[in-house]
């Protein structure tokens, strides 16, 4: 495993911790390249013929495929191993974070002052956040285990990098590279002066934007205090000016029409049906006339074959991504219209190929993320 680039806030790994993380990384690559593909012949040679024998037809929906595939021994065994590999990610990063937590907290309190950090201890953490620990990260992104805690951020930095099998890049900022490359390509004449990233966690994406747009004022919000403390210290360590504040993207305290770009990176699928509409409404309120909304997220169900659609939803049922199920069938254009965007200014697009720095699982497969765009 190629290590993340040092930025001063990373939890340092001892010999065995580094080796354990490398194992989980290689194990997940093996599962993705050698075991997961076996679900296709399993389906076509065993599950599908049985289905046809019993019903006289092929499954019409991903839900029908779910009912039969989840009982297949090959699929079940892959699924159980995949789940275990996710738990092993966190197990491989907790030790080093726990051991160095006092030092990491101290470092986070002695940062530069290019950007800023405002926390709101009274902020209500939304239900979709507290219902279960998303991605199985123990303690989730919002829980403080100790005063001035940064553990959730320190775990998230290494954990998401291993989760993506390096796909997020050694700067852990691939999604920011994708949206920034996409923005520059789609809107070459726009020079954003004020930018907001919603649901920023440790600010990997927004910090990249801040580095690329040094003249812009970059803001980033999240509901989780420990990830914001870590993100702020990380951005300062990287010399980037980002203003972090603890706020819910559904309703922020920023003024009307005060941003040129309002964006998010894989935030929507971790919220609720109501929250997604609220986030779009809030994006519209915050944008200046001519401003751009960009929400990058995971693929929806439209156009996917029943087997493909079923396999895509593994994370919903096995990796605490419960709210992704609702996003799968939602009509994003309709939500944008309800928020106030005009029909002709709503563009559902996909992006991924702008980021080609490394050969990664995402770049190799042409993995693309859909982006919901609205121009005010």
């Amino acid at each position: 495993m190629i290590p993340l680039l040092e930025h001063g806030m990373l939890a340092q790994r001892n010999h065995d911790e580094e080796s354990r993380q490398s194992f989980v990384n290689d194990f997940r690559i093996h599962l993705a390249s050698n075991v997961f593909p076996g679900n296709f012949p399993t389906y076509y040679n065993r599950v599908l013929p049985n289905f046809i024998k019993n019903k006289g037809r092929e499954p019409e929906t991903r839900h029908e495929v779910r009912k039969v595939m989840t009982h297949d021994p090959y699929y079940s065994f892959w699924s159980a191993m995949q789940r275990n590999s996710q738990e092993m990610i966190w197990d491989s990063v907790i030790d080093s974070v726990e051991r160095q937590l006092p030092e990491l907290i101290e470092k986070s309190r002695k940062t530069g002052d290019k950007g800023s950090l405002i926390l709101d201890p009274d902020l209500e953490i939304p239900k979709y956040h507290v219902a279960a620990d998303i991605h199985l990260q123990p303690g989730a992104y919002h829980s403080d285990q100790i005063e001035n805690d940064v553990a959730a951020g320190a775990m998230y930095d290494w954990g998401t990098y291993i989760y993506s099998m390096g796909g997020l890049g050694t700067g852990n900022n691939a999604l920011g590279q994708i949206t920034n490359g996409f923005f520059k390509n789609e809107f070459p004449d726009k020079k954003p002066l004020r930018i907001l990233d919603m649901g920023c966690t440790i600010g990997g994406s927004v910090t990249y934007w801040a580095q690329q747009h040094p003249d812009a004022e970059c803001h980033a919000i999240d509901v989780g205090a420990p990830v914001l403390r870590y993100g702020h210290a990380r951005a300062e360590a990287l010399g980037a000016a980002v203003h972090f504040s603890q706020q819910n993207a559904e309703q922020t305290n920023f003024e009307d029409e005060s941003f040129d770009v309002v964006m998010s990176h894989i935030l929507l699928h971790e919220t609720s049906r109501t929250a997604i509409q609220n986030v779009f409404n809030e994006s519209y309120r915050l944008l200046k006339p001519g401003g751009i909304m960009m929400h990058l997220d995971l693929p929806q169900a439209h156009g996917q074959q029943p087997l493909e659609g079923f396999l895509f939803e593994w994370e919903i049922y096995n990796n605490n991504e419960h709210f992704f199920a609702q996003l799968r069938d939602m009509n994003m254009s309709e939500l944008c219209q309800k928020a106030g965007f005009k029909n002709e200014d709503i563009h559902p697009k996909s992006a991924g190929s702008f980021w080609m720095d490394d050969k990664t699982p995402y770049a190799d497969d042409g993995f693309e993320f859909p982006i919901t765009i609205g121009i005010k």
Binding site: S19, F27, P41, Y44, N45, A80, Q145, Y317
Partner: protein, 115 residues
């Protein structure tokens, strides 16, 4: 909060949320977790031994702290990565066996693999 209090912190180790049961007998779920953890730990041990061997060869004698400070060169990283992949494939041979048998029995209609 004093430094001593901070040192006592124990981070949570189990994620909140219902854990799926994958096998009819939940004991098998636990056994699988144990086997996979064992896989990981053996790999960690092998990596550590690899470091020791390389340091012995390099220095003749070494301090234990040298192991912690061993900086993995890219080519060694590559060698270790390839060895881990072979090791994973070996431990998971029973899974591959099932797949191989299926493909031997099938009618070649594995079209989705090409997608």
């Amino acid at each position: 909060m004093s430094n001593d209090d901070q040192k006592k912190i124990k981070l949570p180790r189990t994620a909140k949320g219902k854990k799926p049961q994958y096998f009819k007998d939940p004991t098998i779920d636990k056994l699988l977790s144990m086997v996979l953890t064992l896989m990981g730990e053996l790999s960690v041990t092998r990596d550590r031994l690899d470091t020791v061997e390389r340091l012995v060869e390099k220095n003749g004698l070494f301090k234990i702290d040298d192991i912690e400070r061993y900086d993995i060169p890219d080519d060694v990283n590559q060698i270790r990565s390839e060895r881990r992949s072979a090791y994973i494939a070996r431990v998971l041979k029973s899974v591959q066996d099932e797949l191989d048998a299926l493909e031997q029995k099938g009618d070649g209609k594995n079209t989705a693999l090409d997608d």
